[in-house]
């Protein structure tokens, strides 16, 4: 994100540029591997402004995470096709191509998992965004366990695509994954399976 040739003196714009650069860097390299000088350079701004506007690198990270979360909420709110919950979560896990810049919403937390607070934040995010919604769909024993098992699968898909770059999964699109996902979700959640063929799903 190289700086647009020059920017007028504009506190709001500078803050926004820093926040955007921070989000990109943190999602690409994690907290530790990103320096405030990196972020400031990307934003075309003096590093000292980070501390003037955000107080510390830590608070900038928190605000960047909050900003990403806000984007997600707003995006989810303006959802015009309210698909069923599992499909929506699959789309969330598969968000964006692996080679593209930006990174998955969870990427920054996963890449920063060396820090305990980021691990806790990751657990909270998983609970709020995945487990909570999935638990409501289960009406069987082991409700939470079933929900967490499906959450773990979505999390694993995200990690495999965003971090490990597993080849087949990285290049797959949602439509290729969807039939497998629906069958597995039916098994784990105990909901009526879409096409219960014991020999495997109808391969596309």
């Amino acid at each position: 994100m190289p700086q647009p040739p020059k920017r007028k003196r504009d506190r709001a714009a500078t803050q926004a540029a820093l926040l955007a650069a921070a989000r990109a860097r943190f999602a690409l390299s994690g907290y530790d591997a990103t320096s405030v000088r990196d972020i400031a350079r990307d934003a075309g701004v003096d590093p000292a402004l980070i501390f003037r506007y955000f107080g510390s690198k830590e608070r900038l990270f928190e605000q960047a995470a909050q900003s990403a979360q806000d984007d997600r909420d707003q995006e989810a709110a303006s959802e015009d096709t309210p698909e069923d919950v599992p499909t929506r979560l699959l789309h969330a896990a598969m968000r964006q191509a692996p080679g593209a810049e930006g990174g998955h919403p969870l990427a920054a937390l996963l890449l920063s998992s060396g820090r305990q607070d980021c691990r806790e934040r990751l657990g909270a995010r998983l609970h709020d965004d995945y487990v909570r919604a999935l638990t409501r769909l289960v009406d069987l024993p082991d409700r939470e366990l079933r929900a967490e098992l499906l959450t773990a699968w979505l999390l694993g898909i995200t990690v495999a695509r965003s971090l490990a770059h597993t080849p087949a999964l990285s290049e797959a699109c949602v439509e290729e994954i969807s039939p497998y996902f629906e069958q597995v979700a039916a098994v784990l959640l105990g909901t009526p399976p879409p096409a219960a063929a014991p020999g495997g799903p109808s391969a596309p």
Copy 2:
């Protein structure tokens, strides 16, 4: 790992202590969050010996990873009950309790995923230890994709337990997960399901 009161001058023992301390620290906090001074303190040894014996922090990390891999290989070789492949991989993913020290074999790589070489190493490890074995079990279209989907689930279980500390999954034991796992594995791999009941697995 506090030092045993004193150690005679013993190059091999010092190297081993450093390697053990490095494995523990890297598996607990990742590469960046671990300093050579931390490792040396745990081993009860002068930090300079790390560079004398291993050349650099990076090479110490590589040797620590290699050492952990050797342990796994040897452990797998001396497996006296050659269970079927998916079950063996589930046990590998569930290895050890979340609260205990030590950490999952993949923990060091996951915690260090801010470094690109660690991400590549993670992908290679997943391929060698999971995808390769699972692919051979599939005799359907999308062989690799099916294998990677199951790998992603095992990876997600590991991340949920070791990093995110998802409550239900963290406290579960292999026996609780196994029935769900076998059903899902059957769906993804296209192998004969153990008890193909469309309403969900027989809950324990």
